[in-house]
């Protein structure tokens, strides 16, 4: 008998975010109009730039792949009510793992290299998340603070490794050598060519996309089909109830952070191994933080994360096109992204409550 109505799950994951995004776009349109550009042209350019060609699709999906990994990372931790802000650092260190695996192990074929790089990225990312997780579990250090700090430490660590260890002699560029060609991952162009579908060869989207989609499914399975997932969710919903059930808070905190860090680290397979083919200083480019927004928007559900990642991929790619072809400054793209985050995250109830009311009325009429 609560005043809040219930929203069906499908509407919770799709309808509410869609309305929020629409509202964010409306305000963005007003902003674009206010600086003297045509909102209609801008939207057209963004949509065409992101979805109008296989070139655009390629970039959109490339970004979306990154966001799926980091979004899933944030989601898994959040199911245990752990706010892992450290996706950025975990992905950076994951990149180091991928680079070491690709550079120092002579791989005969990309398939094996892929498995090795996935392991390297996941293990390095997981270990980077383990320390804040352990500190939270055993010492009560707040995970938000420690993971933020670990982002900075990761950046410094990477800088040190690139400048002092990995940088080839005689170059000024703080980056690793190029990975051997055996580690090059097949691009979506090559994969789709096998089934005769033409796709642009330019964008960096590669087989990691399929791994990311598979991970969405794996995370869903983990959370809703396995005992560990059950314990993570129970702990996240109610720590006293979890304790009552004999679920160890410390153990679940550490497991959730390990899985979260591994997922963030896997992102490097896409960016470091798939695109750059070497390790550079800013390999993650903020995708770790975008992952927070993606998880927020996707309601910490893997399928929601999948959709939200594509939306943010669209914003990234469409935004780049916009900056390229119009007088709209790049900063405004960031503003649009911020508006989307604001509406889907912070102002969630503004949309949710009216929609819940509509559903309640519809049900009342249906009776």
């Amino acid at each position: 008998m609560s005043a809040k109505g219930r929203i069906p799950d499908w509407a919770d994951v799709t309808l509410v975010p869609l309305v929020s995004v629409a509202l964010a776009f409306m305000i963005s349109a007003i902003l674009i109009w206010a600086i003297g550009e045509s909102p209609w042209e801008a939207v057209k350019l963004m949509v065409e730039g992101a979805f109008g060609s296989s070139y655009g699709w390629g970039y959109t999906l490339y970004y979306a792949t990154n966001f799926m990994f980091t979004g899933l990372a944030v989601s898994v931790a959040f199911q245990a009510r752990l706010f892992n802000i450290g996706g950025e650092g975990q992905a950076l260190v994951g990149g180091l793992g991928v680079a070491l695996v690709c550079l120092y192990i002579p791989w005969p074929h990309w398939t094996l290299a892929l498995v090795g790089a996935m392991l390297g990225g996941a293990v390095f990312g997981a270990l980077w998340a383990l320390i804040p997780g352990w500190l939270q579990a055993k010492r009560g250090s707040h995970i938000v603070i420690t993971t933020i700090m670990f982002n900075f430490i990761a950046a410094s660590l990477l800088g040190y490794m690139l400048v002092n260890v990995l940088r080839p002699q005689g170059t000024q560029d703080p980056s690793s050598p190029r990975f051997p060609p055996e580690t090059a991952l097949p691009s979506l162009h090559e994969i789709l060519a096998l089934v005769g579908i033409p796709f642009s060869r330019v964008p960096p989207v590669n087989i990691s996309l399929l791994i990311a989609v598979a991970m969405c499914f794996v995370v869903w399975y983990l959370l809703w089909r396995t005992r560990l997932g059950y314990q993570i969710r129970a702990f996240g919903e109610s720590e006293p109830a979890a304790e009552y059930a004999g679920i160890s808070p410390a153990r679940i905190t550490i497991y959730a952070m390990l899985i979260s860090g591994a997922l963030a680290g896997l992102m490097a397979v896409n960016s470091v191994m798939g695109e750059q083919q070497r390790l550079v200083l800013n390999a993650v480019e903020g995708a770790g933080f975008i992952g927070i927004a993606v998880a927020l928007m996707g309601r910490n559900h893997p399928f929601g994360v999948f959709l939200a990642a594509i939306l943010f991929g669209f914003l990234y790619q469409g935004g780049a096109e916009l900056a390229l072809w119009t007088g709209i400054p790049r900063e405004l793209i960031v503003v649009i992204q911020a508006l989307v985050i604001l509406f889907t995250g912070a102002l969630d109830n503004m949309v949710r409550i009216p929609i819940a009311r509509l559903f309640a009325q519809a049900r009342a009429r249906g009776r």
Binding site: R227, Y230, A234, S238, E243, Y244, A360, Q361
Partner: protein, 517 residues
């Protein structure tokens, strides 16, 4: 507003509050249906009803939290619009909520004036409030240290602050929502003395409760609600608990538990010299020794906070302790490995926790997910080393919900969607259907409606007669007396005495509960 004006009443009226034809729906749920009620000025008017009968909704309308879909509110004979709580306060209505709305780290004085400050400077309001508090303390036994921080006060004193808040706002009509749910018996008695004092001063008091004894003790009139409707209003002197219970439930109920004599068997649980020191260094259990036999119910009576919760937690494996314990003659570790909740369940110790919302259920989990809580390692619930057998849990949940008459019998409904009684039945079904060696049960009927209380009591007796040992902790002395075969009274972490339940009475136990032997 549909004015269903039946009785043409003049401006002068005996009624402080009159509600006419109040209706309120939340979506498809009709929480209040055409409710009319008259509350005489200067009386204590009880409103009883099971959980979900619409009592709280009705009071929320009166206090301006909800707007009625239809009907009108008359305060002292005047039709009054109450769109928000500010208007309610202006109309002289004060409300004491079940869950207090106090700023924990503010002093009593600061809480009292909060939102009713006179002007931008605090000092005049504070000194005015200080004077008023002094008067009220003298007049109504409403004494609270005005400079104490609310978080340091006992629950009973916090409640007094809520009453003081209302009186400071010059309330003439005081609504109390389940005020005794959190109080010890003596605190409750004190509260009733305060209420009678206020009544004598001409205040009108509405008391919402589901405890019939309080109604009989303290009210002048009583109205009964059932499923959103007002089914009867009676002068309290002309009704009885039995009649009220029937009106509430809509059928005859047994207020006393039908209980065949116990046939105690072997000792199942033996505890010696149990000691617990909490994280603040306070000794919570000071050497508890007791035993529970198969086929008997040992009731632990006591005022809340005298170590009963800690005792339950230790036995359930949720808290470390010193001392010895044996289950069916085998050592039961009280700390370290093998002392956890999972091992306890494996050994046949089932636990219905005192606080089902915090511990017993994950409120946002569906019923079937809650059925696996604590038993998620159970072989029957798993299909392989990692995967849970959700289908099997679902089937098991359906069967158990059926057996325990959980309504609605929908395993996909989230726990928070069930009424208090049905939530408790879910927990009991989970813990009892496995026929445990011993069942630890805390406050089995707290916040549970009468119909469900009857059922829960019967189930506990049934489990006892099947040969399980039961350790029952309850702050409701009536419940202890009704269910237990033996009664141990706890005070300040010790057991003050043990009695056979048929050879003792509430007075004797009450003295023990107060620490007097």
């Amino acid at each position: 507003m549909t004015a269903t004006d039946i009785s043409p009443r003049a401006q002068t009226t005996d009624y402080a509050i009159e509600l006419r034809g109040i209706s309120k729906a939340f979506g498809p749920v009709q929480a209040n249906k055409d409710i009319s009620i008259q509350v005489r000025r200067g009386t204590i008017h009880g409103i009883v009803g099971e959980n979900g009968a619409g009592k709280s909704t009705l009071m929320s309308i009166l206090y301006g939290f909800y707007r009625a879909d239809a009907g009108e509110i008359l305060i002292n004979g005047q039709t009054t619009e109450i769109p928000d709580s500010q208007s309610a306060i202006r109309a002289g209505i004060g409300m004491v909520f079940q869950h207090f709305k106090l700023v924990e780290n503010f002093s009593v004085l600061e809480n009292v004036i909060l939102g009713a400050e006179a002007g931008g400077m605090l000092r005049p309001s504070l000194s005015r409030a200080r004077g008023l508090l002094k008067d009220l303390a003298r007049e109504f036994e409403l004494n609270v240290d005005p400079d104490a921080k609310v978080e340091d006060l006992s629950v009973g004193h916090q409640q007094r602050v809520e009453i003081l808040k209302a009186l400071y706002r010059e309330a003439d009509i005081l609504i109390l929502d389940e005020p005794t749910g959190v109080l010890t018996p003596s605190e409750a008695d004190h509260l009733f003395r305060i209420l009678r004092g206020l009544k004598d001063q001409g205040k009108t008091i509405i008391l919402i409760t589901h405890k019939l004894r309080e109604i009989m003790d303290v009210t002048d009139d009583v109205s009964v609600m059932r499923r959103g409707e007002m089914v009867a209003t009676r002068p309290t002197a002309q009704t009885s608990p039995t009649e009220l219970a029937e009106l509430m439930v809509g059928r005859k109920v047994l207020l006393r538990v039908e209980k065949p004599p116990a046939r105690p068997g072997k000792i199942v649980l033996q505890v010696d010299n149990l000691r617990v020191v909490d994280s603040q260094g306070v000794e919570r259990l000071r050497g508890i020794s007791l035993n529970v036999r198969a086929g008997e119910i040992l009731g632990i009576a006591g005022v809340a906070g005298n170590g009963q919760s800690e005792l339950l937690e230790v036995l359930a494996g949720l808290r470390d302790a010193e001392g010895q314990a044996q289950l069916r003659g085998e050592d039961l570790p009280l700390a370290g490995p093998g002392a956890g909740a999972i091992s306890r369940r494996r050994q046949g110790v089932a636990h219905v926790p005192e606080d089902r919302h915090r511990r017993g259920l994950v409120l946002r989990f569906m019923a079937w997910e809650n059925m696996a809580l604590g038993y998620h390692h159970d072989a029957a619930y798993n299909a392989g080393p990692l995967r849970m057998n959700n289908a099997a849990i679902m089937r098991d949940t359906e069967a158990k919900m059926q057996h325990f008459d959980v309504r609605p019998p929908d395993p996909l409904l989230q726990a928070e969607g069930f009424s208090g009684g049905n939530q408790q039945k879910l927990v009991l079904a989970r813990e009892m259907e496995r026929n445990p060696e011993i069942l630890l049960v805390g406050q089995p009927t707290r916040g549970v409606d009468i119909g469900a209380i009857e059922f829960i009591h019967q189930q506990l007796i049934r489990l006892r007669d099947q040969g399980s040992a039961i350790l029952l902790v309850s702050v409701e002395l009536d419940e202890i007396l009704a269910l237990s075969d033996r009664i141990a009274v706890m005070f300040d972490g010790r057991i003050m005495g043990e009695r056979q339940s048929d050879q003792t009475n509430a007075q004797e136990l009450g003295l023990l509960m107060a620490g007097m032997t």
